[in-house]
């Protein structure tokens, strides 16, 4: 038996089988940032329903339902704060919001996150989770592939680390753009990661796909990832990596008090930058 409290404590990872269940961006950030404290980065509004798209449901109705279900504006949350006293900007995609699909809002979120990272000279950490592009925004969703790639270019030019954590599932146009362009590519265990869907591939090649196909460990074996890391170890790993890439001193291990006193925190920051 698995209790809610226990599950929340283990970041939605089953204590019995180590299965990594979905976690919302907000919950993830609460666990990621020091003392659970983070500031949201503003994401510019987008044109709602840019194509007037209607399938069996109207796109605005689907949006309203998703917003009601998740309490979020769209499928990505961007925030800044400290992890192990290391300042970062982070973005996390929300699979529970229309399959995490990438439309103009997600594009805006990534561009805003990258711009904020560049302005504040902070690394950018992105947690991906999406079925792909949002069909209801047609070509404009597809155009977020080059658009988010421009955001990655901004980070590259500023010599700032861009670290991607691929979570279950990350597929389609999302994998084929910003989610595969990280300086360091990390995946959570057993996440589905790929371009084409397994069903489409099986129909095309008319053969059964091997066990574990398109899963994190399979991609690691094929040289497509740097690391597969358990969710409970991610925070420490991100601290270690970003601090090295930013030329900062090793993180102080152990429990730190929550950053309550703003002034004290600022002092630490300036010491770190001058170090």
């Amino acid at each position: 038996m698995l209790f809610h409290r226990e599950l929340a404590d283990s970041l939605n990872v089953c204590s019995g089988c180590e299965h990594h269940m979905a976690i919302t961006p907000r919950k993830r950030f609460e666990a990621l940032f020091d003392g659970g404290i983070f500031t949201e980065v503003d994401v510019p509004e987008v044109v709602a329903d840019p194509l007037g798209f209607k399938d069996q449901k109207k796109y605005p109705d689907r949006m309203k339902a998703a917003q009601k279900k998740t309490g979020e504006r769209d499928a990505m949350l961007v925030a800044e704060g400290d992890i192990g006293r290391t300042p970062i900007v982070a973005a996390a995609q929300d699979f529970s919001f229309m399959g995490g699909s990438m439309g103009m809002y997600v594009g805006n979120a990534i561009v805003a996150g990258a711009q904020r990272a560049v302005a504040m000279n902070k690394p950018f950490v992105l947690f991906s989770a999406a079925g792909g592009a949002r069909m209801q925004e047609g070509i404009l969703s597809l155009m977020q592939m080059p658009r988010t790639t421009v955001a990655v270019e901004m980070l590259r030019e500023a010599n700032l680390p861009y670290i991607v954590v691929l979570t279950h599932p990350t597929t389609g146009g999302v994998t084929a753009s910003y989610a595969m362009l990280g300086d360091v590519q990390i995946a959570e265990p057993n996440a589905l990661i790929g371009f084409a869907g397994a069903r489409v591939i099986e129909q095309t090649i008319r053969e059964k796909l091997p066990e574990g196909f398109q899963r994190s460990e399979y991609l690691l074996d094929h040289g497509m990832l740097d690391r597969v890391t358990h969710r409970k170890d991610l925070r420490e790993e991100l601290i270690t990596i970003t601090r090295m890439l930013m030329g900062q001193t090793p993180a102080i291990k152990g429990d730190l008090p929550a950053p309550i006193a703003e002034e004290a925190l600022d002092t630490t920051r300036s010491e770190e930058t001058s170090a």
Partner: protein, 320 residues
């Protein structure tokens, strides 16, 4: 014409009748059918204009996929001189779904890269129906880097149903290859001009079509997903492709309104497949104009111009 599209059936009947009449007259010298046949010709010509005047998005998809449309290879052979194909990704293989190499457009040396679908069963199979694998995108990246190094404008001709969905393609990093190819398009300090000559199929097209100028043929399409794919996901019925094609706004005309396409190249009446020579010339004119328009831009302005084009695609919509 020997390949009629489904919506061209009435046209096929009239043209067939005219042909029959003339065949009859050839075998029987006494018969004079010219007047009658000419009337049918006129009727057919009027019908053709009528059919193509206001093509529905789904019909546009059919025209864009027409097997007799000129393909990448036809454009390269007709428009460029000294075409020197360059092969391979230096890593795994040479992908025949992607062709590319050095060539001259007029006097200007350029790098030309495109998807090739093939034009008969044998070539379609060897070209994998224009569906590239990672090595195809990696070959393109290599050629773009070379063009960048030697200051050659890059011309890409886009015509693909999409990137190939296969086991090996996934294992060799299809997503990464597409992402890197798009990234390379954004990085090069030379003009990059793309023409969607037929089908712009999703990420497989973006990987080549992230440029300073995106031109589309009048009846070409460019979409996040095929209408059939979209229908089967959102309508749970692949037969709803007409509705999906409508909803997706994938025509050159809609893309021009949305700011994705920078220009539309007119096709002959009845589509590119009815006058290959004319459409190839029109593409040549458009390419020469675009190259000369961009040739004096600074290296950094070219990169900036390209980036801005895509950064702007976050705030526009159609006034539906």
């Amino acid at each position: 014409m020997n390949h009629y599209l489904e919506f061209e059936k009435p046209l096929a009947e009239i043209e067939g009748k005219a042909e029959e009449l003339r065949a009859l007259a050839r075998s029987n010298e006494e018969m004079d059918v010219e007047e009658e046949a000419a009337a049918l010709d006129k009727k057919a010509a009027d019908l053709l204009v009528d059919l193509y005047k206001d093509l529905t998005p789904w019909r546009k998809c059919q025209v864009a996929r027409h097997p007799d449309r000129p393909h990448c290879k036809d454009y390269i052979e007709a428009l460029f001189t000294e075409y020197t194909p360059l092969a391979g990704d230096r890593n795994f293989a040479d992908d025949h779904a992607v062709m590319g190499g050095l060539a001259r457009l007029g006097d200007v040396p350029v790098m030309v890269i495109g998807h090739e679908k093939g034009n008969d069963t044998k070539s379609r199979i060897s070209r994998n129906f224009g569906m590239a694998r990672p090595e195809g995108y990696r070959k393109a990246i290599r050629l773009m880097e070379m063009a960048d190094k030697f200051g050659l404008p890059i011309i890409t001709l886009v015509d693909t149903p999409g990137a190939y969905p296969g086991r090996g393609a996934e294992e060799r990093g299809q997503s990464e290859a597409i992402a890197r190819s798009t990234e390379k398009c954004l990085q090069v300090k030379v003009p990059l001009i793309s023409v969607i000559i037929g089908e712009g199929g999703s990420g497989g097209a973006v990987a080549f079509a992230t440029g300073n100028r995106i031109l589309m043929l009048e009846h070409s399409v460019y979409s996040v997903i095929s209408p059939e794919g979209c229908a089967s996901i959102l309508w749970k019925d692949a037969e709803k492709m007409r509705e999906a094609a409508e909803a997706l706004r994938l025509t050159a005309q809609d893309l021009r309104k949305l700011g994705v396409a920078d220009g539309i190249i007119s096709e002959p009446v009845g589509g590119a497949q009815r006058d290959r020579h004319a459409v190839i010339e029109a593409v040549g004119d458009a390419l020469r104009a675009a190259v000369s328009e961009l040739k004096d831009l600074d290296k950094s302005d070219l990169v900036k111009d390209r980036r801005q084009k895509y950064l702007d695609l976050g705030s526009k919509g159609l006034a539906a």
